[in-house]
């Protein structure tokens, strides 16, 4: 049975709150974020029979509430349908207090001070990638740039060779974008196999990388991590760090290609970059993860039962007109650009500073090296929804 097949509606779900919605549908007509925003025309919280049947929260306030309240909305299951992960991926699939131990273990690698060295690498890699295409006057941004940039940073973080890049990208693609439970599970299994061999090498010859550090780390008052925890955490770093940054780079580039005035503004005012990136991320949030209800509860008068799944599409949080005036407009001067782009609460993305750094560095270098650019005439960019929204095809041209 396809994961997108219709499941029975549980008895506690009122018929008025049922809406057939498939957040993993492969093709969306028109603009992807217009497609997400149209859900605001219906019930604020609704239930879809797709992917095992799950709730969908559509407003920023409720999405933030579910993400923060782990005692009711647990991360033990964080995608639909339930049971996709064969092993849990710590720390994101653990709740506090165990989650906190894992988070502390990883934290030293993601502080602003630690990221300083990676910023240098990000800049070098950006320049190298951009210089490859600048003189051509055209590129397919996804395959030539946005997929290559974050994997280069990830390989540095885990000290793995660039020759493994394509293999790892393929695993990450399946883990995050697998269209079926089986395909997603296969991506995880392939990652576990790959990482198992890497951990075995690092046991013999530990380095200063994050994987070696995890091998020597302890949780729960002093026990080492189990093999399953190590593999799950490694797979998470791979899936979390690659697809998400690549996706965000794609959406930001798509916006800039359609808005030459914003290209000019940023090219002539590089100091605006941090706030521009923040606003572009607010407008193009990508993560569509889920939570497992572990206690019967009520959200805005909607009864949810233990065992229900709740999708929290941050894609919609940034488009909420109750939270942001004129939400579809990208305004670098917007007073309040704070968003849920990296989640909220204890599970907020540990790589947020690294991701912001990659984005700021890449777009600063791009605008220095490439003149005004646009979408290639006669070709259509492709953006798709998913566990993380993504741009899968983005042809650009400029004059040389």
């Amino acid at each position: 049975m396809s994961d997108a097949a219709l499941s029975a509606i549980p008895d506690h779900v009122p018929a008025a709150l049922v809406r057939d919605f498939d957040f993993l549908q492969p093709v969306v007509e028109g603009d992807l974020y217009d497609w997400w925003a149209r859900l605001h025309d219906g019930p604020e919280i609704f239930f879809t029979p797709r992917h095992g049947g799950h709730w969908v929260t559509t407003r920023a306030e409720d999405i933030g509430h579910v993400l923060e309240n782990y005692e009711v909305f647990s991360s033990q299951q964080m995608t639909v349908p339930k049971g996709t992960h064969q092993f849990p991926s710590p720390p994101i699939m653990y709740d506090p207090p165990l989650h906190t131990d894992f988070r502390k273990l990883l934290a030293p690698f993601f502080t602003p001070k630690s990221i300083g060295d990676l910023e240098v690498k990000a800049r070098d890699l950006s320049v190298q990638l951009i210089d490859k295409v600048a003189a051509k006057g055209e590129c397919e941004f996804v395959s030539e740039l946005s997929l290559a940039m974050p994997i280069g940073i990830f390989l540095g973080l885990v000290d793995l060779p660039d020759s493994d890049r394509l293999e790892l990208l393929a695993y990450a693609e399946k883990m995050v974008r697998g269209k079926t439970h089986e395909e997603q599970a296969e991506g995880f299994m392939q990652s576990y196999q790959y990482l198992g061999a890497v951990f075995a090498q690092r046991r013999e010859n530990p380095g200063k990388d994050i994987l070696s550090y995890a091998l020597g780390g302890t949780v729960e008052g002093g026990r080492p991590l189990t093999e399953m925890e190590l593999l799950g955490m490694g797979a998470l770093l791979l899936a979390g760090g690659l697809d998400t940054v690549a996706g965000m780079m794609g959406f930001i580039m798509l916006h800039l290609a359609r808005n030459p005035a914003h290209q000019d503004l940023l090219a002539s005012n590089p100091d605006l970059m941090p706030q521009a990136i923040e606003e572009l991320m607010r407008r193009h949030q990508i993560a569509n993860i889920a939570r497992l209800v572990v206690k019967d509860t009520e959200l805005k008068g909607v009864a949810m039962k233990a065992g229900d799944m709740v999708l929290t599409p941050t894609s919609m949080a940034g488009l909420d007109d109750r939270r942001y005036p004129d939400p579809m407009t990208v305004d670098f001067a917007r007073a309040d650009k704070r968003s849920l782009v990296f989640g909220k609460g204890p599970h907020q993305c540990i790589g947020a500073f690294l991701a912001r750094t990659e984005l700021k560095v890449f777009f600063a270098e791009w605008l220095k090296r490439v003149p005004r650019f646009s979408l290639a005439p006669g070709k259509q960019p492709v953006a798709v929804p998913g566990r993380a929204n993504a741009v899968s095809y983005l042809p650009l041209v400029w004059e040389v």
Binding site: T111, P112, E278, Q348
Partner: protein, 54 residues
């Protein structure tokens, strides 16, 4: 003392407070209200660390 947001790098300086959000200069980080979030990115207080350590 200065505290840095681990998610975006914004610095909360206790000497300066956060007057735009009603926090007076001299307010210690530990005394910030529970609902105070990073004024730049919205991260909550648990994602801040003393600047020298981060």
């Amino acid at each position: 003392m200065r505290w840095i947001c681990l998610a975006c790098g914004h610095v909360y300086d206790e000497d300066e407070g956060d007057p735009d959000h009603g926090i007076q200069p001299g307010t210690r980080f530990a005394d910030l209200p529970a609902d105070w979030d990073c004024p730049f990115c919205g991260s909550d207080r648990q994602h801040f660390a003393e600047e020298d350590d981060a």
